[in-house]
Subunit: 317 residues, 2 copies
């Protein structure tokens, strides 16, 4: 994988040391802290994230990875890599690190408000991701709700449930109904669909609670000499576990629905997490995630139709 | 605490053995599986949950505990114990078992759709709970959102943020702004306010991820002889931890906003969880949770005003 890195060149070169395979492009303007990321991405053509998105739009690179600010990454992607044909809204889709049963959750933050037809597209986009990136042949697709029964949920969830239930799934996988948030970490579905607000809350609640539980275990291990001895014996077995549920290891979220691929790691990731994000982007490119997402939507007839001609204004009577 | 238990008497007596302090009332009709719990609670006057709620409304008992179906408990409570004066909507408020920093989360499922003024009332209700039940003198109150910045969130969250920000808090605690779901388990706030859909998702995501992480640790401990030996040495230190984050130990959610107190445990709780739910109800009654919730809302001027008189129909001209 070849990496082109946009940012303040002197600082980046110093941080990189002699790392090979990285080309540094001096782009010292940052809009990561801009109060209105969309306006900033439109007006600041020299911002590092805008230049990275443009390089991808121009075919100079295959995917962009941007962790400064989700809003800025989204806006730079939309204005430069452009929305895919027939796509209502791009979505952030993350393979949640659940050991043994990775689950694709989307949208985790691109759209705080959506319509039922957006959730339908997210379902097919997530299914394509689960196939291409996680190798799941017939993904089980579910809607996140406050109960498994189809009468549960907001009007949005109930309408999306009816729309998903009524579709032919064929090769795309299958719709298994609603899941509760408890089930995210229980392998009840391969793809879990939500609006960007709920998905963001669910993802962060899972990440926070997993980390908090590990911290508690660490505290228990340090609570007595006897426990410390136990911790030493367990160290090797627990090390692998910590890596398996580490959000950094998963590399962040795919930005799907544009004409080119984007990956959005957490802004707080260390270099380990950014490396994983670059790996995630490479896997998406190698598997043609964008092309296969589009093909899945097309095959399912889930692409937005071009606006139909306006009704004739000639009176019929 | 004296307990009156409504249900199929013969089965209950057999299950109770010789337990003392429990009076069994034969009420064999159950509406826990009714597809429309509100209709069932209205028409099935003999259902066990309706009889329990009526006993509380009639002053025969101080609080009701109902874990069969949240919808049925809510409906039975509303129709019998009635909504409190000036309350928009009752809410389910749960002390989330976070060791060292229990956090009150509400609404966790009574209202899938709310208006900003409902969230304002929930904030004061949660603050009263944190004071009375958890002994927190000046609770820090936060809104659950997809980012800490006040521009983050759905229109509902942004409007509620502005309304909460603009209020005088005085003795009720303080509004500390938005929190992300990662912060639920980090002690960032004492009371976290959300609509019932988002709160339900957040609670279940936290519970699911905590349990899943403990399961993973258990798996790691069993993975080798060396790890098993470590697990034996750690057993005592980890036992307390498991109890501390066990949802059953917390006893479930308070149903606030009625004229009498309700407690809603998970339907899947064992007898240990139901005992905790009864304890939760007793603590709420002893601390006069209902009275103090109402007083907090009144003091803050957050009660719904009686509908004002219709405008005079006499033309002024």
């Amino acid at each position: 994988v070849r990496v082109r890195l946009f940012g303040p060149a002197a600082q980046l070169r110093a941080a990189l040391g002699g790392a090979s395979g990285v080309e540094v492009v001096d782009a010292p303007v940052s809009i990561a802290k801009a109060p209105d990321p969309a306006a900033a991405a439109r007006s600041q053509k020299d911002a590092s994230v805008v230049r990275a998105a443009r390089a991808v739009a121009d075919g100079e690179a295959d995917a962009f990875v941007a962790g400064g600010s989700t809003g800025a990454a989204l806006a730079a992607g939309l204005f430069n890599a452009k929305r895919g044909r027939g796509i209502h809204r791009p979505a952030l889709a993350i393979p949640v690190p659940v050991p043994g049963a990775p689950v694709t959750l989307l949208d985790v933050g691109a759209n705080v408000e959506v319509r039922p037809e957006h959730l339908v597209q997210f379902a097919y986009m997530g299914a394509a991701l689960a196939k291409v990136v996680l190798g799941i042949e017939a993904p089980r697709i579910a809607l996140l709700s406050n109960g498994e029964e189809e009468v549960k949920g907001t009007p949005l969830v109930r309408e999306a449930h009816a729309a998903l239930r009524g579709r032919a799934w064929a090769g795309a996988g299958s719709f298994v109904g609603n899941v509760e948030a408890t089930q995210i970490t229980q392998g009840a579905a391969d793809v879990i669909v939500a609006d960007g607000f709920t998905g963001n809350v669910a993802l962060k609640a899972v990440e926070g609670a997993s980390q908090a539980t590990l911290e508690l275990i660490r505290g228990a291990v340090m609570s007595s000499l006897r426990a410390k001895a136990g911790g030493l014996l367990l160290r090797r077995a627990l090390r692998g576990l910590k890596d398996e549920i580490d959000p950094e290891g998963a590399g962040g979220a795919y930005l799907l629905g544009l004409r080119r691929l984007g990956v959005v790691p957490h802004g707080r990731f260390s270099r380990h997490g950014y490396a994983a994000a670059i790996g995630l982007a490479a896997r998406g490119v190698e598997g043609d995630l964008i092309g296969r997402t589009h093909a899945a939507l097309e095959e399912a007839g889930a692409l937005r139709r071009a606006p139909s001609a306006p009704p004739s204004s000639v009176p019929t009577s």
